[in-house]
Each structure stands twice: as structure tokens, then as C-alpha cells.
């Protein structure tokens, strides 16, 4: 559940007409749906501003979604479209409060030993094609997610205590989930598991073709979900159009069925600058994921739109050194560098020499937060406020280096150069993703920071894929700057980063057993917080993880950017959150304030 900035995977799935076989079952025309809720449906009432119906919301998407299938969606655009607008989950995390709240399950009970969750479903709900929803759909959904042959990226989350969770149906509206071990945040787990229509997907699943279904070219009547919008049209390379789901299961305080909007259009606009231009010209209604520079350009010339700084999000940028165990064929040069990197005092000196304040000011134009740990100030419930925040100190860095056996000599132009105990000059390179100007800028600032210590740093911008390949596969690099943007505020979402066996334990990924004592301690703390039941207990454990990270500096945390968004003034209920999807999390409640706006396009 961790997303790396600019990460997208999965080959584009081939369009295939496999679903046509089951076409006969479907496509009941959507007629006779009452605008007011009927009493047999257990709809969820949302508080908030009342809106008016109609209108078409246009937003940019930075890439074409690779699929509309929640089981195979691993790229950010697909997840944004599917989870944000087309599908629904049993229990949902409210992006504003960061707490769980009832969704398709109207309530849930935990057994006294904490191993059993009983979920009561809402009655009378229908999928977007008009077919009824009940416990069988939930049963089917989790069977599919747990099937190893389906390769759902979320499958790992359903393995608790080494065993997959089991799902049982009690009656048509009651479902029981059993865990092998107590799981602290079991209800958070349901967020993001889109409930699938059994009537549509059972056949392709039986045929083993589930992975290839629901591509972008799926016919609209072959697709169904429980989200606020349903598929209408896909134009390759241009846009994806969704229409209002007339059977959606939420209503406003007056009993009007949501969503308010009639249509949603996702335009595929690859570059951030082009997205800004489209927003500026009024072609799109909402913009998110803005860089600070573009945000200030738009803020200066605002005409008819509001720009909002929602505060620091969950993304943390960090510098890390190569701490992998090197094989025999490593060059002496790399071995020497590794000796510095593994020296805690060296890493502490680097951390002390970096000017985080300048990073926030020059890279984010002040719209960000300095970081000393992985949990950003935006993650209010989990940040360990007692981690020390030392400001930049070259003196401290120098004395740490001196203690570690480094010394200085005079260079040819009279500058002082750092050398290690063998008299070799200290120089290394920092990899950054060439597509991310922000991190390249951070690297350039760090280059100058470390020059003042007499260290020669080279900044190497690399294409993101080859960068990732170097860090996780070939392990041929000195240092690297990356960012991680967690999906959820909960510590479990980053467990892959902190466990020494994790694939995103970047400084030394996928270890068979932890190399250092402090990594061993983090492993055990993370395992313990996974099964601890109370928030207070978990918080204490995770606070300790943050302390260990701050002491040992496997990652030197740099800064976290604010979530910067903008919307037309005419859009009501616009409340950006710091969790993804930043602006579309309450898309069912968004509406156009004056009716002239929606007819103007």
C-alpha cells in the first residue's frame, strides 16, 4: 500500500472481448429509479452542505489509467479513478478525519479475543447496473483477492500472522472475517478493497481470465461498481468519461440521492505544466498535486478560482546511502565508500550538514515542512513530536567527522578537502529521478551543503526506472534521493519500508535476516504494533520506531511538500484533504453552485 512518487507498473493490458460471453446476463436499462430513497434501501446519510444536481466535472489525470480492474490496478491513475470515483469498500477511511467510518458495512463488531470481525451490510443496495448487492458479492470479492493466481497487489494485506484471513457468510447481510492473530487495525484494512459484482466477474474468474477483464476498452454495460460514478466512454489517449451511478447508496441530509454531478471527465494530461494551463483556461475544474512554483503562479493570477494550501501531506523525501552487503566482485572504490556510509557518525554528520530550511524555502517556496523522521506533521495521529529537531550545524558535522577519523587537507585551489583515515578524498554521487525537478533541486542544494564540509558530491539525474533498478536490483550506487507517499496515515501502510525483509527497505532491501541490532529492533516493534489492539499501545511502539530511525539515520529525512490544490469558485463542498485522493475523496458531494456554470460548456 505504499506508493512511490512516479511509480507505475503493470504492462498495459490488451483489450480483449472476453467479457462478451457473459453479455446476455446484463444490461438492464436504468429506468424507474426514484430520486428520493425508497424505505427498503438502507442508504447512508452524509452531513454537509446541500448541493444542486447536475453538471460535469472535468479533471486532469497525469497518465492514462492502465486498467479499470481493481484487482490489477497498481498505477496511481488507475487507483485514483477506480477507488476515487467508481468503486466502494466495506469500511472507509474518512480522508478528512483520518478515521474509519461505515460504508457498505453499516456496522461491525469485534469478538472479545479480537480475532473475529462481524460486519453487517446495508440492505437493498444495487450495483451500478441495477443488480442487487449482498453477502455473496463480498464473499466472492475476498475469495478473488486472496487467490494467488489473480496476483492482486493488495493480497499481502490480507495475510495476518502468516495466514490468510478467512471469510464466512452468516446470512445474506452478515459476514464474518477471522484472523489468525489479533490485528490492531482490522477495520482499516477494508479500505481500498473494492467490492466486486459477482454476477459479472464469476465467469471470467472461473475461466482464469479475471486479470484480463475490465480493461479500459470494456463496454459500459459490461462494467459495474458500487461507487458514485459508472463507466460511460473511453477515448484512447484523450479522456475517460464517467456518468452518475443512479443506484448510489449515499444521500444528503435532505434525502436526495448522491452524487450531485451528472458526469465526470478525466482528461489525460501528462505534464504538470500542461495541467496548469488547462486549469488556467477553465478547461478543467479542479487541479491537485500542484508544485509550489505553479501554485504561486496560479495564486498570483487567480481569476474565478481558489487556491488552497492543505498543509503537509504524507509524502516524505529522504536521502539514503547504499548500506547493502557487498559481494566479492565489488570494486575497492565501492568498498571504501561503503565503509564511510556504514559509519553512523558519518551519516549523522551528513544529516547535521544538510540545510532542510533551505530545501523547504527554495524547493517548496515555503510550502512544506522540514522533516527529521518519516512521519510528517500532516499525519497528526502518528507523528512522534518528541524527536529532536536539530537545526543545521556545520560545527557538529565537522566534529562528528573528526571523531570518525576523517580529516581535512588543502586542495589545489586553496579549498579544504575532506579525506578518510587512509588519506583518500571523500566524494560520492547522489542519484535523483530526472523526471522530478524538486528532488534534483534538493540534490543540488545538498551538493552545496556538503561542499562546505569539503566533500565533492555529484548529482546524477537518472530516468526513474533505471534508478529504481540500481537501488533495488544491481545495488550499484552511492546515495540516492527518493520520496514515499503513503496511501494511509496508519503505520502499517509503510511496513514494507521499515521491515528489513521489505522490498522498499531501500538502504538494504529484502534482507533474509536483519543486519544490525537496530534493524532487528525495528522489525520486532513493527510486528508488535501489527497485533497490538489499542491505538495508545501502537503509538508507543511506532514512536520508538521513529526514534530509532532518527538515531541511526538510515534515511536522512529532508522535507515534506504541502498538498496544493485549486478549484473553480463555483464548486461547492470542496474540502481538500492531505490523504489521497486529495480533492476527489468526497466527489459524491461536489456540486456546481450556480446552474449557469454547468450549461456553459
Amino acid at each position: 500500500m505504499v506508493r512511490m512518487a512516479r511509480f507505475s507498473s503493470f504492462e498495459r493490458l490488451l483489450a480483449c472481448g472476453l467479457l462478451l460471453a457473459s453479455a446476455a446476463v446484463l444490461s438492464k436499462p436504468a429506468t424507474g429509479i426514484p430520486r428520493q430513497a425508497s424505505p427498503s434501501e438502507e442508504l447512508l446519510t452524509l452531513p454537509g452542505e446541500l448541493g444542486n444536481r447536475g453538471g460535469r466535472l472535468v479533471v486532469s489525470l497525469r497518465a492514462e489509467p492502465k486498467t479499470l480492474n481493481p484487482l490489477t490496478a497498481a498505477d496511481a491513475p488507475s487507483r485514483e479513478v477506480i477507488l476515487g470515483a467508481m468503486q466502494a469498500d466495506l469500511v472507509h477511511i474518512n480522508r478528512a478525519t483520518q478515521l474509519t467510518e461505515p460504508a457498505l458495512a453499516k456496522s461491525w463488531k469485534i469478538s472479545p479475543n479480537g480475532l473475529e470481525y462481524t460486519l453487517i451490510l446495508r440492505k437493498g443496495l444495487r450495483f451500478s447496473d441495477g443488480q442487487p448487492f449482498d453477502a455473496d458479492d463480498v464473499l466472492f470479492t475476498f475469495r478473488v483477492y486472496l487467490d494467488e493466481n489473480v496476483h492482486a497487489p493488495q493480497r499481502d494485506l490480507l495475510i495476518v500472522g502468516g495466514k490468510p484471513i478467512t471469510v464466512h457468510k452468516v446470512d445474506a447481510w452478515t459476514i464474518v472475517f477471522r484472523f489468525a492473530k489479533t490485528y490492531g487495525v482490522a477495520e482499516r484494512l477494508f479500505d481500498g478493497f473494492a467490492i466486486l459484482p459477482r454476477h459479472l466477474l464469476e465467469k471470467p474468474y472461473a475461466e482464469g481470465k479475471l486479470g484480463q477483464t475490465w480493461t479500459l476498452s470494456t463496454a459500459a454495460n459490461q462494467w459495474a461498481g458500487l461507487g458514485p460514478f459508472r463507466l460511460k466512454e473511453y477515448v484512447p489517449g484523450q479522456r475517460l468519461v464517467l456518468e452518475r451511478n443512479p443506484y448510489y447508496w449515499k444521500m444528503d441530509a435532505k434525502g436526495n440521492r448522491l452524487p450531485y454531478l451528472d458526469e465526470m471527465v478525466f482528461l489525460f494530461v501528462p505534464s504538470a505544466d500542461a495541467q496548469v494551463l488547462k486549469f488556467q483556461s477553465g478547461e478543467t475544474d479542479i487541479i491537485s498535486r500542484l508544485g509550489a512554483d505553479n501554485f504561486s503562479v496560479l495564486s498570483k493570477q487567480q481569476r474565478g478560482f481558489t487556491m488552497i494550501d492543505a498543509g503537509p501531506g504524507l509524502e516524505y523525501n529522504f536521502l539514503f546511502f547504499n548500506l547493502n552487503e557487498l559481494g566479492e566482485k565489488t570494486s575497492a572504490d565501492m568498498g571504501r565508500k561503503e565503509k564511510w556510509f556504514r559509519d553512523l557518525k558519518f551519516r549523522q554528520a551528513m544529516a547535521a550538514a544538510i540545510d532542510r530550511h533551505a530545501i523547504v524555502r527554495l524547493v517548496y517556496q515555503g510550502r512544506g515542512a522540514e522533516l527529521w523522521g518519516p512521519v510528517t506533521p500532516g499525519n497528526r495521529r502518528w507523528v512522534n513530536a518528541s524527536i529532536p529537531h536539530p537545526s543545521r550545524s556545520l560545527e557538529r558535522a565537522r566534529s562528528l567527522l573528526k571523531e570518525a577519523g576523517f580529516s581535512w587537507k588543502n586542495g589545489p585551489n586553496g579549498e579544504s578537502l575532506l579525506q578518510d583515515s587512509d588519506g583518500k578524498p571523500v566524494e560520492f554521487s547522489i542519484l535523483t529521478s530526472s523526471s522530478n525537478a524538486d528532488r534534483t533541486k534538493m540534490a543540488t542544494l545538498i551538493q552545496d551543503d556538503l561542499k562546505q564540509l569539503g566533500i565533492r558530491v555529484q548529482v546524477v539525474p537518472l530516468e526513474f526506472r533505471s534508478l529504481l533498478d540500481r537501488v533495488t536490483q544491481t545495488k550499484e550506487y552511492d546515495a540516492c534521493i527518493l520520496a514515499i507517499a503513503s496511501f494511509d496515515a496508519d503505520p502499517n501502510s509503510d511496513i514494507n519500508v521499515w521491515l528489513s525483509s521489505g522490498g522498499m527497505h531501500f538502504w538494504n532491501p529484502s534482507q533474509t535476516r536483519p543486519l544490525t541490532a537496530w534493524e532487528t529492533e525495528i522489525d520486532s516493534l513493527m510486528e508488535r504494533q501489527l497485533t497490538a489492539s489499542s491505538y495508545e499501545e501502537r503509538k508507543k511502539l511506532y514512536d520508538r520506531v521513529q526514534e530509532i530511525l532518527a538515531e541511526n539515520q538510515p534515511m536522512i529525512f529532508l522535507a515534506s511538500p504541502d498538498i496544493l490544490v485549486g478549484a473553480k469558485n463555483s464548486i461547492g463542498n470542496f474540502h481538500p484533504a492531505v490523504l489521497e485522493p486529495y480533492v476527489l475523496w468526497n466527489v459524491e458531494q461536489l456540486y456546481f453552485k450556480n446552474s449557469s456554470e454547468k450549461s456553459s460548456r
Partner: protein
């Protein structure tokens, strides 16, 4: 007799322009890599003669600028801090022409930094960066052109003079090189090289690529001239008297190609400067923090810089006089000698 005055004027202008860039250390007030983190994207400072009280000063001065409180891109002058501009001040140490150590700069100020052309994202002096960046770009152009012409003349003369299968082979290879997509060649080369390329390595890599791909066109031109020159009467006469191939080439044939080669040089240098800029613009040139004209312009790829920091366009203007003078020189050379043709001045590099 050949009239030489026309192109001499251009040559002098060229020498002056290159002289300024070559002695960047003297003309630039600051180290091009020195950051001033309090002043990112500072607009060019105003030079004042009249202060806030309306008094006239003979010595020009400027006001220290600070970020407006709470802002990260709006600056204001503090009118209580006038700083006089001084000439021939001592400042950061540098080596003139890479040799003579010195610390004297044409202009500067004592109390605060003076930004003639504003600053970039890291608060580095844009004026100094343009001057130092010119060193990389122009040197790449000159070296590249020199390398190209050397190999072009060598191969062209061999092909033209000996003819036969040698001619055929060399010219087919030349055609192959003309058709080579040099940008992708560089991408490929970069992938083979070690990860961290120092500025010096990157610089020579660029020159090598430019030179390796560029020799074909001058080679074909030289071959044509040699082909006609070797049949001239005086060449045949010399051969009749028993002159060796080497003597004939050196004494009679290569001098005939001089006008073509010179004209080509005047055309190729700006073309190769442009090639270097393209590479650096795409991030394949010399790495940060060393400036080159191309990498200076690369910041303009960001929309926000494009619309709000107009002084970042300055490097684009800096190349204009250079290109104009080179073009003038090329056409003057062509007129004077009546040989050669201006081909492909702005076309593909």
C-alpha cells in the same frame, strides 16, 4: 588580389566577444556556483543615481534587496541600505584564462552582492553564470569544429586525392555518419559510461560525439575541391617533375581547400555551440553546478519560470551577438574568396 578587409572586421569583433568570455573571471563579479539562499529568483537589481531622498550621486549605487515578509518570491529594496558600485574591486579568487591567479573583478560591491542580471533558483548570480557558461559552450563549439575539420580534411583529401576504392569506401562511411541520429547516439553512449560523470569528462564526451558525427559534411566538401585541384595544370606539372603525393597535397592541393575549410569553420562553430546547448538543455551536458548556456536555458522548461522570471531568458540573448558575428564572418569569407557556399546555417547540427 584578394580583398581581406571585410572579414578582418568580423574577426576583430569575434576576438573581442571571445575575449570577454575567456576572461569570465574578471568580468563576472562572483563564483558561478556560489549560492545565496536568501535571494532565489531575484530580479535584476536597479542601478540608482538618485537616492530615496532625491539626492544625486555621481557614483552609481544599488539598494540591498530582501524577501518581503511572508513571501518567497517577492523582493523589496531596503532604501536605508545604499551600496555603492565599485570598479576593479577585489573579490573571489580565480585564474585568468585558467592560468593567472587573480582576484580583481571589473565591478562589484563590498557590503552586498550585486545581481546585474538577477539570480537563479539557488540565488546564484545569473550574469556570472552566463559568462562562465559561455566558456563551456564556446569551447565545445571551437573544439568540436576543430576536431571535425581536422578529420574532415584528412578523410576528404585522402578520398579525393587517391580516388578509386578508397574514395568509394570513405564516402559511403561518410554517408552513414550523415544519416546517424546523433542525439540517440549520445543517449546510447551515456548509458555505457559510468554513472557519475565529472564535468570535465562530460565536456569531452560531448566534443567527441559532436566531432565524431560532424566530420562527414566537411569531408565531402574538401573531397570535391581536391578532386578538381588535382587535375589542375600546375599540379600535373609538379607531378611530372616527380613531386611526391605528400608534397603535392601539402604544397598545392590543401592550400586550395583553405577557403572552404575557413568558411566551414565559421559555419560549424555556431552550429556546434547550438549542439552543445541542445545536449545540456536535455540534461546530457555538463552536470550541475557547472553552468553552460544550454543548462541555463533548461530552467525555462518549467512553466512557472517561463511566466514569472523573465531574466532567465538572458542566456538566449547572449548567444545572439556570437551567432551574428560568426554568420557575418562566414559570408564575408565567402565573398572575399568567392568559394564555398553557406549551407545549413541553422539546420540540423
Amino acid at each position: 588580389m584578394i580583398q581581406r578587409r571585410g572579414w578582418k572586421r568580423w574577426l576583430i569583433a569575434l576576438a573581442i566577444l571571445h575575449g570577454i568570455v575567456a576572461s569570465a573571471g574578471f568580468f563576472a563579479p562572483y563564483d558561478p556556483t556560489e549560492q545565496d539562499r536568501e535571494r532565489p529568483y531575484l530580479p535584476p537589481m536597479k542601478i540608482h543615481f538618485v537616492d530615496a531622498q532625491g539626492r544625486f550621486h555621481l557614483r552609481p549605487f544599488f539598494y540591498v534587496e530582501h524577501l518581503r515578509a511572508g513571501s518567497f518570491d517577492q523582493f523589496e529594496e531596503s532604501t536605508d541600505q545604499p551600496v555603492p558600485l565599485r570598479f576593479f574591486v577585489s573579490g573571489v579568487r580565480y585564474r585568468l584564462f585558467g592560468l593567472l591567479p587573480s582576484g580583481i573583478h571589473l565591478f562589484g560591491a563590498q557590503a552586498s552582492r550585486f545581481y546585474l542580471l538577477g539570480s537563479d533558483a539557488y540565488g546564484r548570480d545569473q550574469f556570472s553564470r552566463i559568462l562562465y557558461g559561455g566558456q563551456i559552450s564556446l569551447l565545445a563549439g571551437l573544439f568540436g569544429a576543430g576536431l571535425t575539420l581536422f578529420f574532415g580534411t584528412l578523410i576528404g583529401a585522402t578520398a579525393g586525392y587517391y580516388g578509386g576504392w578508397r574514395d568509394g569506401l570513405l564516402m559511403r562511411v561518410a554517408e552513414l555518419f550523415v544519416a546517424l541520429p546523433w542525439l540517440y547516439l549520445l543517449f546510447a553512449l551515456r548509458a555505457f559510461l559510468p554513472l557519475a560523470v565529472s564535468p570535465v569528462q562530460a565536456f569531452f564526451l560531448i566534443i567527441t560525439v559532436i566531432g565524431a558525427v560532424g566530420w562527414a559534411r566537411p569531408a565531402r566538401l574538401v573531397r570535391g575541391v581536391v578532386l578538381s585541384a588535382k587535375e589542375r595544370d600546375f599540379v600535373r606539372a609538379a607531378r611530372g617533375f616527380g613531386a611526391t603525393d605528400w608534397y603535392l597535397l601539402r604544397r598545392h592541393i590543401l592550400p586550395e581547400t583553405s577557403s572552404v575549410v575557413l568558411t566551414q569553420a565559421a559555419i560549424l562553430v555556431p552550429q556546434f555551440v547550438l549542439a552543445e546547448m541542445t545536449l545540456s538543455f536535455l540534461g546530457l551536458g555538463v552536470p550541475e553546478p557547472v553552468p553552460s548556456w544550454g543548462s541555463l536555458l533548461a530552467t525555462l522548461q518549467q512553466y512557472s519560470v517561463l511566466v514569472s522570471s523573465w531574466w532567465m531568458y538572458a542566456p538566449a540573448l547572449a548567444i545572439v551577438p556570437f551567432f551574428l558575428v560568426y554568420l557575418g564572418l562566414a559570408s564575408a569569407l565567402q565573398q572575399d574568396t568567392g568559394a564555398g557556399k553557406i549551407v545549413n546555417m541553422t539546420g540540423e547540427a
